[in-house]
């Protein structure tokens, strides 16, 4: 097993520069999630790795096999890269049975009919669809189609499997099950994978490492816990998790601590900016870290409870003061009226 290395890849589609120099390493046996909002270039990067788009700069290689190198004019066509790709729409060939869909890659590799039969059979039973081999794609449910698409990409044992939002076409409930199933499959088979998604929860659940893309550049990369707990930029902080945003003035900024001034009151937090005090600043705090209290205290703001919402396992509370709106979770509803909302200083990032 070898690493996949993407170096400084830049790519244009028409006039738009979609990727502006992205470098990623996928170590053997690891799952890397490409995460980002739509238009961030994550799918384009995946397609460039697969050989379906051509960058104008940079290089892509797996071990010492160079797939693409703009400087040396090397470009291996998609069919010679030997990667597995699972499409968002699954792209199962409607004129072929499940067996033929999965077996096609082996047939192209000159595997004997007998061996194709055993290997396709093995792969299909791994994904739990051994009994559906003779069906056509349109006779399968969405979840089954998605598994066939994965089987088709796995069957010839590619060094890396590329997944382009494979779960986004499933409905919400099925998606969570498929997520757990996919993670288990990847871990059991010891696969290297790149998983493209716009869903941060999915990325954290599936990946060993997350590469967060923003407008064609890497905003931050690291382990899921690092991205969630130590966002480096405002974009990363806002993209991961559900957040409250507090716009105020930077009152102090030294020694890794910062003070945000808001409604004439001061909130202490972790500094994520190098700016000098006096300018505007933004505080970000995860919803689940906000606490409610009935008495004033440090890092607390007096706010009015507007709308309690029942979510089943908990309540979501919306507080307001002037234009500021803050959401918080609680195990029980509070009385409407004035409350003190606490923003713990170890959970408040100031950008």
């Amino acid at each position: 097993m070898v690493d996949l290395t993407v170096k400084d890849v830049a790519l244009r589609l028409g006039e738009n520069e979609i990727l502006k120099g992205v470098s990623v390493v996928v170590p053997a046996g690891q799952v890397v999630a490409l995460l980002g909002p739509s238009g961030s270039g994550k799918t384009t990067l995946l397609r460039a790795i697969a050989g379906l788009e051509t960058p104008f700069r940079g290089s892509i290689a797996i071990g010492d096999r160079v797939f693409f190198d703009a400087a040396r004019g090397v470009e291996l066509p998609a069919e010679q890269r030997g990667l597995g790709l699972v499409f968002q729409s699954y792209a199962l060939w409607p004129h072929r049975t499940v067996f033929d869909n999965v077996g096609y890659g082996l047939k192209l590799r000159g595997v004997s009919a007998e061996k194709i039969k055993t290997r396709v059979g093995k792969t299909l039973s791994q994904i739990g669809l051994g009994h559906l081999a003779e069906r056509y794609p349109h006779q399968l449910s969405g979840g089954q189609q998605q598994r066939v698409a994965i089987a088709r990409a796995l069957v010839y044992e590619p060094p890396v499997i590329l997944l382009d939002e494979p779960l986004s076409n499933l409905d919400a409930k099925l998606r969570e099950e498929a997520r757990a199933w996919l993670r288990t499959l990847i871990v059991t088979l010891g696969l290297s994978a790149i998983h493209v998604t716009h869903d941060q929860v999915e990325a954290m659940a599936i990946a060993d490492r997350i590469v967060l893309l923003d407008a064609g550049l890497i905003a931050q990369e690291g382990a899921p816990t690092a991205l969630y707990n130590e966002p480096a930029t405002l974009f990363a902080a806002e993209f991961m998790g559900s957040n409250n945003r507090l716009d105020g003035k930077l009152a102090e900024n030294s020694g890794g601590r910062a003070t945000l001034e808001l409604f004439g009151e001061r909130l202490f937090g972790i500094s994520r900016t190098k700016a000098a005090p006096g300018g505007k600043a933004t505080g970000i705090i995860r919803i689940e870290r906000v606490r409610c209290s009935s008495t004033p205290g440090p890092n607390r703001l007096k706010m009015e409870l507007k709308a309690p919402m029942y979510l089943g396992e908990r309540w979501e509370l919306v507080f307001a003061r002037d234009t500021l709106s803050v959401r918080a979770y609680a195990s029980a509803p509070l009385e409407p009226g004035e409350h003190y909302v606490e923003f713990p200083s170890e959970a408040l990032w100031v950008f």
């Binding site: 066509p77 792209a91 060939w93 890659g105 088709r152």
Partner: protein, 556 residues
Amino acid sequence: MPIVAYRLLVLGVTTLAVVAPLSLVIYQSFLTAPFFDPTAKAGFLAYSFVFADPDFWQAFWTTITIAGGMAAIAVPLGALLAFLMVRTDVPGREYLEPLILIPIFVSAVVIAFGYVVAIGPVGIFSTLAKDLLGFVPWNLYSLLALIVIAGLTHVPHVYLYSAAALRGLSTDLEEAARVSGANPFRVAINVSLPMILPAILFAGVLVFFLGFELFGLPLVLGDPQDVLVLSTYLYKLTNKLGVPSYQLMAVVVVAIIAITAPLVFMQRLLLRQAQRYVSVRGKGLKTQPLRLHGWRWFAFGAIMLWLFVTVVVPLFGITLRSFVVTWGEGVRLLNVLTLDHYRELTDYPNVIRGILNTLGIGVIGGAIAVAWYTAIALAVHRWNSGWTRLVDYLVMVPRAMPGLIAGLALLWVFLFVPFLSPLKSTMVSIWLAYTIVWLAYGMRLVSGTLLQVAPELEEAARTAGANDLRVKRDVTVPLIKYGMLASWLLIFLIFVREYSTGIYLLGPGTEVIGSLLVSLWGTGAIDLVSALSVVNVVMIGVGLAVAVRLGVRLHG
């Protein structure tokens, strides 16, 4: 074979097939004598001769008049017909659609013959009118009649594009206007019409352009009073001077192409314009058609009247004529019924060959033509390169050459290139001419099918390890199989109907019904012509019935 070689081969052969005839015509137009004449020199003699001929200018202005006149008739009627069929509750809409399209699929010469035997000076309806009224209230052999008939038979062309535009129009837009307080009439005028105006404009230019391609109608209906259009002027030129005056014909061809080529280019621009609105598709909801109430049957009657005049009168006329010995004043039809004309057909080996050849060119030739169109379409399919532009323009070249001209140009190619000459008197020449003439149409059919193949299906095969050609073989072609079959059926209909392209190529071994009809008409063999016309119509009828049965969309 790598994909590059495949592309080079297919596009090279196509370019040669398209460009060679055109270049030869242009080359010939600058010679002072036919190209095979050793005394031929370069010069503008042919141009000055043709441009000095008052008949040429007469034909030129007549063509413009007819093209403009038929557009003026066909555009409003076609747009109205589309509105009635797509948006209102006219009775029997589902059954009317194939009937409306009949004039597109029936050969124009057959329709022209039909009008002559039905409402010509001694036609069945004319004698009937004379019996009832004492006089014939119409004169078929007039420029006006020619324009009206040309206009009425081209209503379906306008209908097709307007109806497609109307169907492509999101009904949300109309419903939004209804909810805002506009009545159905205002919706039609303020919302629907402006949205499909580009499509109507396109159809108008198309019909005007088709006016320059008219050949069968002016040949049959214009001849008795010497009304010449450019195409019939060209046709007459063949015999005018006794000696082959290729250089003069070439000049006329160049003149015609000089008019049609810009029109083709304009259509291309307008089509893009017209498709701008189509992308905003509704969700395919069945919307409530506009209720016409009392006007329902009036509208139905109007459509029926148009169908009667455009389809029933000529087809009934020609069919009846093929089963009777004669007709006229005082003749009871029941006493003159006969099958002799059909028996007579078998007396002429060339007619028998013509019928078989027509079937062959439709079935086998059509299949090979679709295969070729598919080969071209596949060569540029998913090809991210400026060269695909070349194909766009290549396809436009034959579009600017009416069938008569393409046949002539190809005849010259066969005469000009020594090793091709033996093919001249085989069906290969006819097939080549037909395939080139209908290149644009066929390409549109096949590309339309290819557009429906989702790119991921092909990309999935690429990543699984299949190279370009393998992807086309294993994924693309199997997926468009049904579309190719449908294209084959439509090309069959077109090839069986075709008459003008084969005229110059007509000879022993290359007879097809269409060109035979034109040549037999010249000899006055009306019995044979009517029987052979009916045979042709029956072939097309069977093809149409199969197409409708299989649910093939009758328009590309």
